[in-house]
């Protein structure tokens, strides 16, 4: 296997890592809540460095079931996530500049691990919020927890909650797919060459 990536691949990797800049300007994830009283829906947007949307209203409603108040400073992630994304962008650029196949491999492995860790962390917070409830809460349903769905839909009391990537998140996913695609294309191209040489 040749050690250098093709020029096209290097441009694509540069583009893919460059696209990560989107999460500095667009929210990465969103949770939407719909209820009979909220036909227009309540939205919480999760950024890499904070929260936006109807957080105060959601907190106001959550106090009935004894959920903790959601505030930005409770999440250490918001402090270091921008640096993590910056690191990935630099790494991607390094891949593009050097064109080293090995670096691309490392980049992809780290991307996979990063994505997995992010979802794990998100799940952990969701679990924590959904289960650690104030024992004096007004509404207590035995056996019921209020953990939001990791991804997809879940019915929580009168709310239909939806958890999906937001615009920034979709761009990250697209960028990751592109990077993996580059790897696959390189592999496929190489494979065919080897066959021909045989």
């Amino acid at each position: 296997m040749k050690q250098k990536l093709s020029v096209a691949s290097r441009i694509l990797v540069a583009f893919s890592s460059g696209a990560l800049i989107a999460v500095f300007f667009l929210p990465a994830w969103r949770i939407d809540l719909f209820a009979p009283q909220y036909p227009e829906g309540l939205t919480m947007n999760i950024w890499i460095n904070g929260l936006s949307g109807d957080v105060d209203i959601i907190n106001g409603l959550n106090h009935y079931i004894g959920m903790k108040h959601i505030t930005v400073d409770m999440f250490p992630e918001f402090k270091f996530l921008p640096f993590v994304v910056g690191f990935y962008m630099l790494l991607g650029l390094l891949v593009a500049v050097t064109g080293k196949r090995k670096f691309l491999f490392i980049y992809l492995v780290l991307t996979a691990i990063g994505g997995l860790l992010a979802m794990l962390d998100f799940y952990r917070w969701g679990y924590n919020y959904g289960h650690n409830l104030d024992p004096k809460a007004a509404i207590q349903v035995p056996g019921l927890s209020y953990q939001p769905p990791l991804i997809g839909h879940k019915r929580i009391l009168n709310f239909d909650s939806y958890s999906f990537p937001d615009a920034g998140g979709w761009i990250v996913i697209g960028a990751a797919i592109l990077a993996f695609g580059v790897w696959f294309a390189e592999w496929y191209h190489h494979h065919k060459l080897e066959k021909k040489q045989k």
């Binding site: 109807d54 105060d56 209203i57 106001g60 009935y64 007004a138």
Partner: protein, 670 residues
Amino acid sequence: MKHYHLKSCIPLVIALVGLLWIPGCKPKGTQSAVSGNAASKVYVAPGKYDEFYNFVSGGFSGQMSVYGLPSGRLFRVIPVFSVDPEKGWGYSEETKPMLNTSHGFVPWDDLHHIALSVTGSEHDGRWAFGNANNTPRIARIDLKTFRTAEIIEIPNSAGNHSSPFITENSEYVVAGTRFSVPLGDKLDVPINTYKENFKGTVSFIGVDKTSGDMSIAFQILLPGINFDLARAGKGRSAGWFFFSCYNSEKANTLLEVNASQKDKDFIMAVNWKKAEAYAKAGKGVKKAVTYAHNKYDDAKHSATSTMMNEVLMLDPKDCPDMVYFMPCPKSPHGCDTDPTGEYIVGSGKLAAVIPVFSFAKIEAAIAAKNYDGEYDGIPVLKYEAVLHGEVKKPGLGPLHTEFDDKGNAYTSFFVSSEIVKWNVKTLEVIDRVPTYYSIGHLCVPGGPTKKPWGKYVIAYNKITKDRYLPTGPELTQSAQIYDISGEKMKLLLDFPTIGEPHYAEAIPADLIMKNSRKIFKIEENKNPYAALGDNNAKVERKGNEIHVYMTSIRSHFTPDNIEGVKLGETVYFHVTNLEQDWDVPHGFAVKGANNAELLIMPGETQTLKWTPEKVGVYPMYCTDFCSALHQEMQGYIRVSPGGANVPLTFSTGKTAPAATEKKDTTAKPN
């Protein structure tokens, strides 16, 4: 004798009973007036929106109501001139100044007419104006909040009926006095000296282009007659205002006879551009008067009332070419200008014809000084010279006229209880439909503007008799909506109204709904008594006043336990609704309060004044079903005897308030 008398009656009784059996001796019922597909034309499916907002005056209710068209569904009653305990209007400390006048606090009035703001004689959806007929005032309603933003009193006026009609770019709303009265210093005069001592005025109230703030620009001093209704010109006639006048006989008693003697009264034409120029040129005289100007501030969430003491009076004697009279048959009521501004329709309540005046002819008659003498020094134009023509045999008791977008006019007839459609140019009657019963005003969406939408005409009726299930002696008034998209008018729907509807206007929903406010931002709340957050809630003693800075959020008040109030003290509950979510008002009520509740919108602060008169523990609670735990949204306030030693304390969520003595007068949270 008696016996004989009875006997002779028997055949007569039999004959009368027999008459009862004669069938069909009655006019046809009203059911036949509705055609098959009427229901589908007014059916607005659940969750769907109406096409038009209909702003309907509440008449003697003093309020303005908002309906949807074509469904006829009632959305809101906007408190304007009358107190409304349901909304705390006129009861909360913040709203009381809105009802202040030179006569003090006036808790009721009679709102007759609506004028929606216009730009270029087309609706712009910014403000609705309404008049107070009894204690002369004009109110401006902000259509972002659907609340009364401003009320200005009109001095030198009595019975502000000819109001609040509006000029083409909302430069002015007008106020013509219905009663002429003695003015100035000579107020205590015999009533029968009417002819010498009584005067009329019309006022032009300037409206600020951006804020909408009103101020009386000038008044015009006029003969002692009665001003009834008015309309501004449009297009070429936009610089003019037309007022209908009755009682040119100058009667001061039994007007139904004495003011109906003359064959013709007047429509008064005022060149307001010229009047404005005269006012600017210093032709007016400043008169000492007293009137209140009340404004509501959406940031402070409170009103202020300012007493004004001067008004600029223009006398037509010093201002030539400003005012003219046009003879108009028999006590004209309605005075309406068509969408082009060329035609002015006068409706003599007792006249057999509808005269239509031509603006081009008015201009020509003025230029040629084609006068028919003077009335109190004001030139009277020759009837024939200014007349476009008369609608012959239109009906009985013509009152008001609205217009569609196809050159047709729709005139209401009180006596013959019908709407008559006629062509403005040809003056030919096209169609007539009955109303149930005795229509007063009528409304075509955009009808008074340059751009009528001409889809419906709505009749506002005075009498409903057999139209609805009976409710004792007092029956509802009603509106009826007719489809006017075709040649023939078709009755679609009846709907009951609040109070007594007089004039109404309708406007496409999209001109208003996009601007409708959802909440007040808590960070913009500048009420001096606001508690912006639970942590800022407190109770303070100032002399013999207790000020409670209270917050409300689903589903608790902070504080909700208050002790240390003494008999003889007055408690002010300043309640701030901390919600920032649409449609989550909180209410507040305390037992025994001699006023009303508060209804506090998200982000707003309102104050209830309460002077307890007995020792005890008083409950207080949220009155607006705010949440699943609304019923739990409650608290207590303890009132001790005058000399009691109970320290002033407050708390929320503490079961045992520490009743420690405190030296300073400000209470500390437990």
